[in-house]
Symmetry: C2
Subunit: 259 residues, 2 copies
């Protein structure tokens, strides 16, 4: 895609995100309709659904030939990475959204033939929009993101998934103990923003395409590594434990995982 | 103390806090001088020290007869709860401050003969000041704090100390598993604000007087329970594992701790 076309898409997506945020904020103090999906900890609300419908509608109008992969299923069945795919998470961190009305994100990604083109991760309450891609660079609220320092695990705080720590999956306890401390925020989007802003040296969680699709584009552009937990290439349509980290911390963590 | 006198003190302390926040923010992008205290995870910076000296100076001028208990030792040796005691934590969550420049708090408490009079917990970057006491009530950025719902552990998110989870102290893993999820924020002040705002149903960590002194006054005023981890009365001069929670969650957690 040409740079001017990319900038035009970028402007359009940011418009959707701002409208989407305003929609969510307008309803944030109303009584939510909360349903459970696979367990009592896997929630969906009327706002997740409304917001996905809103974004799907905008994308269909703007890019009718593309496929859409959305968490709540209002998009398409997507079985191949051919062509253009939009990936959306209308509310990432729904548990935080329901219980805290805070610490949740809206995420949008555009892939073309499996390659990341543009990614957007918005911390709605914290008011951070991380945006960009390989051809535009990464921006934090419109300002170029400062280079992310290549900190080691030993010198950084690590974002982890609560359940993975409690089950000590992949030696998660050792990983936490080697770091300066673990943090658990409960939203992939919030953790990914924290890694991009240098507040965490990495993040590990079991993720689905809508959890990591946008973040992956931004993180790889910023020189971070995002792979499966055992260091393999991450397929954008897969659901798997994901390891995002600085290059140094990524190596440190792989050593502990493979012990 | 009379209500007018309390309001006058309240106004004065808020003035110190705003000045103190401005001092911290002015230096937040400078290179910090970081020293370790008891371990590589127990840090103090030049800004912790400067801010404690600033607050101690303000208190000495305003209330010369009172004793001051400060984390960094610029106050007094305090061995009894008699009389007026000011307790200050100039930067709570120093690790977050150093590694994130985010998620840290400034805290001030006033006790008289062991009884909490006024407490202040300020999330510097998140811009929340929780303030008040038994005679004034609790305020969030100057607005009366909405009543905190008496949510059970099973229906809430719980804030925990990372090290206590990793060592499974006091059945912390069971506590996390019974809740809807654990969160680890790495600052007592940030966790206490989250409990007061209803974002967490409770918080458990090993704490020192400057970590819980201010929060205790606000939490008890708001109808929350703060005790030792085994449910005993919390002495304001003690360093101990602390359990803060709604009444329901407090009971739920004590049952798990004593298993």
């Amino acid at each position: 895609m040409e740079i001017n076309e990319l900038k035009e898409i970028d402007k359009t997506v940011k418009g959707w995100l701002h409208e989407s945020r305003d929609n969510v904020l307008r309803k944030i103090d109303t009584r939510l309709k909360v349903d459970t999906k696979t367990s009592r900890r896997d929630l969906v609300t009327n706002i997740d659904k409304q917001n996905e419908k809103f974004l799907v509608g905008k994308i269909r109008e703007f890019d009718p030939d593309a496929k859409i992969l959305g968490e709540e299923g209002f998009g398409d069945q997507v079985h191949s990475t051919d062509g253009r795919i939009w990936i959306i998470d209308p509310i990432d961190g729904t548990m935080n959204f329901v219980k805290q009305r805070n610490h949740f994100a809206i995420m949008i990604a555009l892939y073309e033939d499996g390659k990341g083109v543009l990614g957007y991760v918005m911390d709605v309450i914290g008011k951070h929009l991380l945006s960009g891609g390989p051809d535009l660079g990464v921006f934090d609220n419109g300002h170029p993101l400062p280079p992310v320092k290549d900190t080691s695990l030993r010198e950084g705080l690590i974002g982890l998934s609560g359940p993975m720590v409690l089950h000590n999956d992949y030696n998660m306890v050792d990983i936490a103990q080697q770091s300066l401390g673990m943090r658990i925020y409960g939203s992939a989007g919030i953790d990914i923003i924290s890694v991009l802003r240098g507040e965490l040296v990495g993040y590990i969680s079991y993720l689905k395409p809508w959890d990591f699709g946008a973040g992956r584009i931004l993180c790889e552009t910023a020189g971070l590594k995002m792979t499966t937990i055992d260091g393999r290439r991450l397929d954008v349509l897969s659901s798997t434990p994901v390891l995002l980290a600085t290059r140094n911390a990524h190596q440190d963590i792989l050593t502990i995982v493979s012990k």
